[in-house]
């Protein structure tokens, strides 16, 4: 009734899946890198800075994808009290934070040649900054509560509230952006991307996604080990207690 059979099933599946995902990620990264850096033509307008797009867009995409993954895992864990979903959400959060950080920094590096400053309060970049704070808050909540089960449910509540908040933040930041900077900036994503740039871009996005899958599976396995260690520690504490009292 309380047995969590699937962690064992998950452990066996992930044992097979993780190396494959890791290998795929490595190959795709290599291909995407070489193609993007060496063969893709410079953009007529942005020149070679367009190559930054090959690392910026995938990390921005992964920051949002990881967030969606985390929020849906949290929803599953909150509704069906599915502790494997807890573990998935916790495993994804630091990765999402890493990708979000990359998205912000590469975005700034891309922005400098175009806008003349590293940071511009562009609607998209600002939304990513808010998401960045959300990730830190989410991870901090996990770390702050000792009991992993309680932490899981508290983080799930936060993730669900955060998920409701995303469209509101998106709308308010866009609103705020048009309010203070009527001058329209060069839209970051060029309208129609030529296939010579689009293909390496898609390869890099696939590479980042494969890497995310490999890492999240690995972190989930680690989290399962941590929970088992936690349980062993409690039961040893109790076993040494109970027999002593007879």
């Amino acid at each position: 009734m309380f047995a969590l059979a699937n962690p064992h099933r998950f452990l066996s599946y992930s044992r097979v899946l993780t190396p494959w995902a890791g290998g795929l990620a490595a190959v795709l990264l290599l291909v995407g890198l070489v193609w993007g850096l060496a063969f893709a033509p410079p953009d007529y307008q942005m020149g070679d800075t367009v190559r930054i797009m090959f690392v910026h867009v995938p990390s921005a995409w992964m920051a949002m994808a990881a967030y969606t993954f985390m929020a849906s895992a949290s929803l599953a864990s909150f509704i069906w009290r599915h502790s494997l979903a807890d573990i998935a959400a916790r495993a994804a959060a630091p990765l999402g934070l890493g990708f979000n950080f990359l998205a912000l920094v590469t975005g700034a590096l891309w922005g400098q040649p175009m806008w003349g400053t590293f940071w511009v309060w562009d609607a998209r970049l600002t939304s990513f900054l808010v998401l960045f704070f959300f990730y830190i808050g989410y991870i901090a909540l996990w770390e702050a509560i000792e009991d992993p089960h309680k932490a899981g449910r508290a983080a799930a509540i936060l993730a669900i509230v955060g998920f409701i908040n995303v469209p509101i933040v998106k709308f308010s930041v866009d609103w705020w952006n048009t309010l203070h900077q009527p001058a329209s900036l060069i839209k970051m994503g060029a309208p129609a991307i030529h296939w010579t740039i689009l293909t390496p871009l898609l390869i890099m996005v696939a590479a980042y996604t494969a890497l995310f899958v490999a890492l999240v599976l690995m972190r989930m396995r680690t989290e399962i080990f941590i929970r088992q260690i936690h349980r062993l520690q409690i039961s040893t504490a109790l076993d040494t207690e109970a027999p002593a009292l007879g």
């Binding site: 070679d48 690392v55 630091p94 590096l109 972190r219 680690t222």
Partner: protein, 53 residues
């Protein structure tokens, strides 16, 4: 090859972006692997060697 590194004058932005991306991805992978192995060993240790040591 110089031309390649010059990146049409934007080398100062393209290369840091790539180096940083590689660095962060490597860091994420490394920490994930290290945590995995450390806890795996700790768990086996606790299951076989018993809790005291």
């Amino acid at each position: 090859m110089g031309e390649f590194f010059h990146m049409g004058g934007y080398g100062a932005f393209v290369w840091p972006a790539y180096l940083l991306s590689a660095g962060v991805l490597a860091f994420m992978t490394a920490t994930t692997l290290r945590a995995y192995n450390r806890h795996k060993r700790l768990l086996h240790h606790m299951e076989d060697g018993g809790p005291e040591n």
